[in-house]
């Protein structure tokens, strides 16, 4: 029973963390271009140019 006092808040906290991360990425437009993201690893950045 004592273990639960720590474990349950930890479990819920981790879940909430995931939820917050999802909301954050949704807001930052991480899901706007899913097919493009898969292709971008093939794009070679030119030198001296930030992404």
């Amino acid at each position: 029973m004592n273990g639960l006092i720590f474990l349950i808040p930890i479990a819920l906290g981790l879940g909430l963390l995931g939820l917050a991360a999802f909301f954050w990425s949704l807001k930052k437009g991480q899901f706007d271009d899913l097919d493009g993201a898969a292709l971008r690893i093939f794009v070679e950045d030119e030198e001296g140019r930030e992404s």
């Binding site: 029973m1 819920l12 879940g15 909301f23 271009d33 899913l34 493009g36 292709l39 690893i41 794009v43």
Partner: protein, 704 residues
């Protein structure tokens, strides 16, 4: 980076196909000094630019074409589009919240089911309640709102049993928790919301994606014009900013952006998007011209008389409004199911409650069983059955180049048994194609290519396109010069070569061009609008699916006859928009469900009136707006593929319904007898949802 203010602009670039294109565009565009940043969105085939405020639209489009891409500017979209995207995002947030809640409550529930008892079980139930209640309030809003709307109008829909079920289950579970009872159904409520929201979200994603594609296409034509100012200088004006009395300079190969009167120059206009007429119409000063027509021949000056929303011919707009009413009467299959289903669910729950009360079980136990019945029958799988199948179908069709506007379009497409097809631009390509190129010898071909490459004239472009198929290299010519209205002149091996308007008038009005060397005619090439390459196969394929096709054309009988003969179809010719509507009404009166396929402004009312309708990507704005789906590219086969896919999707939806009903036939008696504990409910619900989604995924390979 410059200090001047930057403006953001979006472009639709349909040719983005690979990682190479992304790199080429993003790295190539920023080499232009005025473009500060470029970002490609591959999924939507768009490019977002930040550029200096003084950059003209033609310059930006030029920057794209220097890299070998065709770009169409997308205006800042209408507000309603943003609102729709916002709904979709709100639904996704609700899915995330309910998913989180479902998993965490399940975590607690599993320990209860594994035998937690006493104080631990109560604690877990309280925790579950603390997670579930806010979730239900937040994530359940779409259902509560919709159910309330339906009830207020004295109707019922799928959302009514859902809302009542969720609310009742939460209330009973709260009571159970407060009285240290053994069963709380919080996980059931959260899971129900999660699955249903998934269905809703899929539905809205489908509409979003199609709408994105359609708005990109809508901006395809006439989005602005060079306007001659009072000081004699010309500047670029967006179509939305055009006003009456402005003077537009329309070059050959440009589409008119507004209605007007010709005040200078003479040319030929392609009216096919407006009337279906395939032969070009000559215009001279004082002739009225309409937005959306293509200037074929020489530059003209046009004084604007009406711009923007006023340009659509009022008649057509009125006809379309009337015609669209039939379509709005269509009731989607899920709603039809809900009409039968919702009362049945309510009755069952009521009977269960009454039955156990009469059997003397006490109101607490009876309510618990009624809630179990509601939760078990709640249309979890039913809510997923339709959207899951439709989004898979729409995704596959999109890959094949067909944009479906919404799920109801797919359902209506599955029902059609008669196709009425417009000719110009639908059965045909709707643009001039050079005829008889194969008869020219290689030297002439290379000479023509070298000249035609240098011009943006529609006939030159048709020549360049046609010659590319023959693997010819352009001849080396010097000092190329283009005279608008006459042709291109250049020096080749010391001789003067010209490509342009034929000197003898024998050819009449037909589109033709002539290559001459030192004033002597070497070759004459005619142009005609050709059938789409697979038109015959597509018509055959439709026939095999039991759909008989017929041509409805606004063109002259003489122009339609060869097409009708080649495809073996009956045709009606010279039809006005009203005639087309009447033809559809006749078919409807015979009990047919009509699929209308057309592209022009004159097809708009017919597209709106058809049980379902399709338009090619090259169609007029009105056509694209009125059609249920749009197919891209030169092939007609997507029409037959779409109908086949729609029918497969409908079959899957029916199977899903059968699965859901079968599941209910097993689960409801169990719930009636009181065997449905929260554990059984959880297994049954997720199991049936997974089966339904899995069945829908079979559509993924159905297009071949």
């Amino acid at each position: 980076m410059t200090a001047t203010a930057l403006v953001e602009r979006d472009f639709a670039v349909p040719d983005i196909r690979c990682a190479g294109c992304i790199a080429k565009l993003e790295q190539g565009l920023v080499r232009d000094r005025r473009i500060a940043a470029a970002r490609v969105n591959f999924t939507e085939k768009r490019v977002h630019l930040s550029c200096t405020a003084d950059t003209d639209m033609p310059d930006l489009i030029g920057a794209f074409s220097n890299l070998g891409f065709e770009a169409h500017p997308i205006g800042s979209g209408p507000e309603e589009a943003d609102a729709e995207a916002e709904t979709s995002r709100e639904l996704l947030r609700a899915v995330a919240v309910s998913g989180f809640a479902m998993m965490n409550i399940m975590l607690l529930s599993v320990s209860v089911w594994s035998g937690a008892a006493g104080a631990t079980r109560d604690l877990f139930h309280w925790l579950s309640a603390a997670i579930a209640l806010p979730t239900v309030v937040y994530a359940g809003r779409p259902f509560f709102r919709s159910a309330w709307r339906a009830l207020r109008h004295g109707r019922t829909n799928m959302d009514v049993p859902i809302s009542i079920g969720v609310a009742l289950v939460c209330a009973i579970s709260m009571y159970e928790t407060a009285t240290s009872g053994p069963h709380a159904y919080f996980d059931g409520a959260a899971m129900l919301l999660f699955f249903l929201l998934c269905g809703r979200w899929l539905d809205s994603v489908m509409r979003d994606r199609a709408r994105g594609g359609v708005t990109a296409l809508l901006r395809n034509m006439g989005t602005g014009a060079m306007v001659l100012g009072n000081d004699g200088r010309s500047r670029w004006v967006d179509a939305t900013a055009l006003e009456p009395d402005m003077v537009m300079l329309v070059a050959a190969g440009e589409r008119l952006s507004a209605d007007g009167v010709v005040i200078g120059g003479a040319s030929q206009l392609d009216l096919s998007l407006l009337t279906g007429e395939s032969a070009p119409q000559p215009v001279r000063p004082d002739d009225r011209v309409h937005a959306g027509t293509l200037n074929l021949d020489a530059p003209i000056r046009v004084c604007v008389t009406a711009a923007g929303a006023d340009t659509a011919i009022a008649d057509i707009a009125r006809l379309m409004g009337e015609a669209a009413q039939g379509k709005s009467r269509y009731v989607r299959i899920a709603d039809r199911a809900a009409r039968l289903y919702a009362p049945a669910v309510h009755c069952l729950a009521l009977i269960a409650f009454a039955g156990w009360m009469i059997a003397g079980a006490g109101w607490h136990h009876s309510l618990l069983i009624a809630a179990a019945v509601l939760i078990i029958t709640c249309p979890c799988a039913l809510g997923l059955a339709v959207p899951a199948a439709q989004i898979v179908a729409a995704g596959e069709l999109m890959r094949a180049g067909v944009l479906i506007k919404d799920g109801s379009a797919l359902e209506r497409l599955a029902e059609v048994d008669r196709a009425l097809v417009d000719k110009t631009g639908t059965l045909t390509l709707g643009r001039p194609e050079a005829i008889g190129l194969e008869r020219l010898d290689i030297g002439v071909k290379s000479l023509i290519l070298s000249l035609s490459q240098a011009s943006r004239h529609p006939l030159s472009e048709a020549l360049t396109r046609g010659l590319q198929a023959y693997d010819v290299r352009p001849a080396e010519v010097k000092s190329i010069r283009e005279t608008p209205g006459f042709g291109i002149e250049a020096h080749w091996a010391g001789r003067v070569v010209t490509l342009g308007r034929p000197q003898d008038a024998v050819l009449g009005d037909a589109l033709a061009t002539e290559l001459s060397v030192d004033g002597r005619t070497v070759a004459t090439i005619r142009f005609a609008d050709r059938l789409r390459p697979d038109a015959a196969e597509a018509v055959d394929a439709l026939g095999r699916q039991g759909i008989e096709s017929m041509i409805l054309s606004g063109d002259r009988a003489g122009a339609v006859a060869p097409v009708a003969r080649e495809l073996g179809l009956t045709a009606q010719t010279g039809m006005s928009p009203q005639d087309k509507l009447a033809a559809i009404d006749r078919q409807v009166a015979l009990g047919h469900k009509v699929l209308m396929i057309g592209d022009g402004l004159n097809d708009g009312p017919a597209l709106a009136a058809g049980h379902a309708s399709m338009a090619p990507g090259s169609a007029s704005d009105v056509g694209k707006n009125a059609a249920d789906c749009i197919f891209l590219g030169d092939r007609l086969m997507p029409v037959a593929q779409t109908v086949r896919m729609a029918r497969r999707a409908q079959a899957i939806v029916r199977q899903n319904f059968a699965l859901a009903i079968g599941y209910n036939m097993i689960a409801v008696p169990l719930a009636f007898l009181g065997f449905v504990t929260p554990l059984v409910a959880a297994i049954a619900m997720s199991g049936s949802s997974l089966i339904v989604v899995g069945n829908a995924l079979r559509l993924k390979w159905a297009i071949q």
